[in-house]
Symmetry: C2
C-alpha cells in the first residue's frame, strides 16, 4: 500500500514547497485526538460544564441525569469516557459517586489545539 508511487527522489518537481519535517508526530497526534474525541460530544460537554459549576464537592450521577435528558446508563457511559480520557476524577462516597474535574486537564486539552 503505499501511496508513494514516487520513490524517485530527484525527479520530484511537483508543486510547491519541497516539504520539510514531520510537523506533528503520528503518535502524538493520536494521543491528542483521543482526548479531543472525548470532548467531541454535546452530552459530554454539558456534563463537564455541570461538573465544573458544581465543583467544591463534585456532582453525583443523579444530578447529571436529569438536565441532560439522557438515560442513566448513557450518562454513566459518558462519564466513563471522560474518566478514561483523564478529564474527570471519580470518588465513591457511600452509595453515591462524586465526579470532579481533574485540575488542568481542560487547559491541557485546549493547548493541544493551539499548540499545533
Amino acid at each position: 500500500m503505499n501511496t508513494a508511487p514516487l520513490s524517485a527522489p530527484a525527479t520530484d518537481s511537483h508543486c510547491c514547497v519541497p516539504s520539510g519535517r514531520p510537523a506533528l508526530d503520528a503518535a502524538e497526534a493520536q494521543r491528542r485526538a483521543r482526548v479531543l474525541k472525548a470532548l467531541s460530544d454535546p452530552g459530554r460537554l454539558r456534563l463537564l460544564s455541570i461538573v465544573k459549576a458544581a465543583d467544591g464537592g463534585g456532582a453525583c450521577v443523579c444530578d447529571l441525569t436529569e438536565p441532560l435528558e439522557l438515560g442513566q446508563p448513557t450518562v454513566s457511559h459518558h462519564l466513563k469516557v471522560l474518566l478514561d480520557a483523564g478529564l474527570l476524577h471519580r470518588e465513591k462516597r457511600g452509595t453515591w459517586a462524586y465526579y470532579s474535574l481533574v485540575p488542568g486537564a481542560l487547559e491541557a486539552a485546549s493547548e493541544s489545539i493551539t499548540g499545533l
Copy 2:
C-alpha cells in the same frame, strides 16, 4: 424539549446539591462539539499542523498526502471536514488547491473548551 424538567422545588431530596442552572445550553454544546469532532482525528490534527507550518502560501494536497501515509481521496475528505468546520480555507490556483488556516479558528476552538 425542555431543559427544565424541575419545576418541582420541594419534594426533591435525593443526594447532594439541588442543582442550579442549565450550565451549558444544548444548542451551544452541539455547536462546539461539531468543531471539536473535526479536531478529534489524528490525521486531521497532522493536516492542520502541516498547513500551519506551511503558512504564508498555503499547502497543496500533494504536499499533504505523502507525510500522512493516507490515500489522496482520504486526505481530500479530511480537508473537506476541516473546511466545513470553518477551520481551513481553500484557494484554487490553477491545477492545485491551496489550503490555509482560518485566522483565529483554532483559538476559538480552544476557548470553547476552557470556557465551559
